[in-house]
């Protein structure tokens, strides 16, 4: 009972301080919104309107039809017509265009005889995403008009796109962004929580009261769990309104996954707080942890493509497990019971980090 009163006292105090700290308060709402808009709009792997130029040496009915069809895909924006292939190459070299379309003068004959490729795409291959898009462009079945008597070539392999039929990046990014934002804010908030009290001299008073270490830690964590859930709601709601990312699975399961993921991050933050001597150090440690989380968790690059060592590191990061959970629940509508190993991994991380934090924290000054 007394224990509850003390935990409540710490929570109440944290919330009061939080409501007066405008910067932190702004970060709670600002970080998710800014990140969501930045990532949602900027990181776009469904590339559209690549700048392109073309040379049409055939200048036939068929070639003009082709140019019109390419333009209609909106994958390339054919801005410029040039006279020769050399000019096309110059534009590529200068970086003025990403794609060049070269139509040879015997284009019509090539299309009919089908013995050689009918046209060439010159692609700036330095960006793999553009290269991939251009390769996709090569596979576009060109619908020539029926008079020419040509049937579109049949593709060898048909790709069926599950869960994201329109191939929009936002669908992939928004749910994962929940994890990224929570990692950043939750670790940071609790990372400075105890250090700040030490820096301001409050800790010497606090450790002289009967408050126990566990009570202090819980009292510091609980308010931020609520804040984390607020951020979750902001991201998913805005993601739904602006980027039309639906939640396929159960909202309760999203909440459950987020709850345990938030706890993992807060515990890590507290651990950082017991190690760091200043708030600045705590921030440095937070970013030391944040960077691998972003790079290795599967948020940026597919997990399967990474070398084994990187995968090993990724398995320790809470964000990796949360990404699997949130993508599963939100995008595929999977029931959380099918992904219990991820829940267990997050729970284990929380338990270890919190125990270490409690062990490291001493109610003494020596």
């Amino acid at each position: 009972m007394k224990s509850l009163i003390r935990i409540f006292a710490i929570m109440h105090k944290e919330l009061l301080q939080l409501s007066r700290d405008r910067l932190t308060f702004g970060m709670i709402v600002g970080i998710p919104l800014i990140q969501l808009l930045l990532f949602g709009y900027a990181i776009n792997t469904d590339v559209r309107n690549l700048t392109a130029a073309y040379v049409d040496e055939a200048d036939s009915h068929l070639s003009r039809q082709l140019i019109a069809d390419l333009g209609a895909t909106q994958v390339v924006a054919l801005r410029q017509r040039v006279a020769s292939v050399e000019e096309l190459v110059q534009l590529l070299d200068a970086g003025a265009v990403s794609v060049g379309v070269a139509i040879p003068d015997d284009f019509d004959r090539r299309v009919i005889s089908r013995d050689r490729p009918a046209l060439q795409l010159l692609v700036d291959g330095t960006d793999p995403i553009i290269l991939g898009v251009a390769e996709g462009l090569a596979a576009i079945p060109l619908q020539f008009d029926s008079q020419s008597g040509l049937q579109p070539r049949q593709r060898m392999v048909e790709v069926r796109n599950y869960y994201n039929p329109e191939r929009r990046s936002a669908v992939n990014i928004v749910p994962s962004l929940v994890g990224v934002v929570l990692t950043m804010t939750m670790v940071l908030f609790t990372g400075v929580a105890i250090v700040r009290e030490r820096e301001r001299g409050n800790l010497e008073l606090l450790i002289n009261t009967p408050v126990r270490t566990v009570e202090l830690m819980l009292g510091k964590i609980v308010p931020y769990i609520v804040i984390g859930l607020i951020q979750l709601v902001i991201i998913l709601a805005v993601g739904r309104v602006i980027f039309s990312v639906p939640i396929m699975g159960s909202e309760w399961q999203v909440l459950l996954a987020a709850l345990i993921f938030i706890s993992a991050n807060l515990s890590l933050g507290l651990l950082i707080s017991t190690v760091a001597a200043t708030q600045f150090q705590a921030m440095q440690m937070t970013f030391f942890f944040f960077l691998p989380s972003i790079l290795l968790s599967g948020f940026m690059f597919p997990f399967e493509g990474m070398p084994e060592i990187a995968q090993g590191i990724a398995e320790v990061l809470p964000l990796t497990h949360f990404n699997r959970l949130i993508r599963g629940i939100v995008l595929r509508g999977v029931d959380v019971s099918m992904m219990m190993q991820e829940i267990f991994a997050l729970a284990a991380f929380t338990a270890v980090a919190l125990t270490l934090a409690v062990l490291r924290f001493s109610k003494r000054l020596d």
């Binding site: 105090k13 409050n202 606090l206 002289n208 062990l359």
Partner: protein, 336 residues
């Protein structure tokens, strides 16, 4: 581990036989690396009294207080505080003592009322009792009108009253105050000491560190600390009686000349100017100190009124620290 979770019941008070002492320490020592911050300090602080620690900055006052409230573990020696071992039973002790840190350590972004409420909750004082106690403290320390003001915007005196109110919230039997008046003006200091006497009358034991001489005299008993060593202790009166020097006051028309002349007295312990007056301290073993002083002045052709006086606290402080200096120099000279 367990001591951070559990609230091991306080051991039965073992020191009933040896008089009524709130604090008893023997050989208390604390090292920080090579530095000995507190060196072999013995303390006997009687219950219900105000006990002072007098000493300059760096004399080990804060370190001693932190060991007594269990914040620092002694390197050697031990302390019994309210019958509990300050090291082993630190958690049980925390419910019984109030500690006021040297630096303001309440929350500057919380109001006076919120701070007190927080402290009340952390000590798990029941709600009704907590409210009553808060009203009582707010009015006792004249903070009622400002109770909604943020602590960070308070003056030095107001902050210190708030800190004392917070430290006494749970009615501790022992108050440890670490230089409570260092950022406070004289009139606030007077009020503060009135409050301390009130608390002592109500039965609390108070240990207060200070570097103000006038505050030290107000204590029932005091210990003088110098570079980690307790160089003297006792009531201000007994300290004056047992001082190792004679104190001679000289009133001369030409104080500057007198000052120069008196400097030449061999084995003089100290010479202090107080406006037109001079205070001279001469070792106790010199039989007729007033005669030595008057002879010296007469030789220099300076007219002056001379009289032996009872040492004040500053004399005592200067005497114990200077004599220790002389001793350690003598020891250093003896050493090969």
């Amino acid at each position: 581990m367990a001591k951070f979770f559990g609230s091991s019941s306080p051991s039965v008070i073992e020191m009933k036989g040896n008089g009524d002492y709130a604090i008893q320490a023997r050989g208390l020592t604390r090292r920080f690396g090579a530095v000995v911050a507190v060196n072999n300090v013995d303390l006997d602080v009687p219950s219900g009294k105000i006990y002072g620690f007098l000493g300059p900055n760096g004399s080990g006052k804060s370190t001693t207080i932190r060991m007594l409230c269990g914040l620092l573990t002694p390197s050697s020696g031990q302390a019994k505080v309210l019958g509990l071992d300050a090291g082993r039973d630190a958690e049980a002790l925390k419910r019984e003592i109030g500690y006021m840190t040297q630096r303001f350590s309440l929350y500057e972004d919380l109001s006076i009322k919120e701070n007190l409420q927080f402290i009340g909750e952390v000590y798990a004082i029941p709600r009704r009792e907590r409210r009553r106690r808060m009203d009582e403290l707010l009015s006792r320390f004249s903070l009622t009108e400002r109770q909604r003001q943020r602590a960070g915007t308070l003056s030095g005196g107001q902050k210190q009253r708030l800190a004392l109110a917070a430290a006494t919230m749970h009615r501790p039997r022992l108050l440890l105050l670490d230089e409570p008046t260092s950022a406070v003006d004289p009139s606030n200091r007077r009020d503060f000491w009135e409050a301390l006497f009130e608390l002592a009358e109500q039965g609390a034991t108070i240990l207060v560190s200070t570097h103000y001489m006038d505050e030290a005299v107000r204590c029932h008993k005091l210990a003088i600390l110098d570079r980690g060593v307790k160089v003297a202790d006792g009531s201000p009166r007994s300290l004056g009686e047992n001082i190792g020097t004679h104190v001679i006051e000289v009133q001369a028309a030409d104080a500057d000349a007198a000052h120069l002349a008196l400097r030449e007295i061999p084995r003089i312990v100290s010479l202090t100017r107080l406006g037109a007056r001079l205070r001279v301290q001469i070792p106790k073993h010199i039989a007729n100190p007033a005669a030595v002083v008057s002879q010296t002045l007469r030789d220099a052709g300076i007219a002056a009124d001379i009289g032996q006086v009872f040492p004040d606290i500053e004399d005592i402080f200067v005497a114990v620290t200077e004599l220790r200096e002389v001793e350690s120099e003598a020891q250093a000279a003896d050493a090969p």
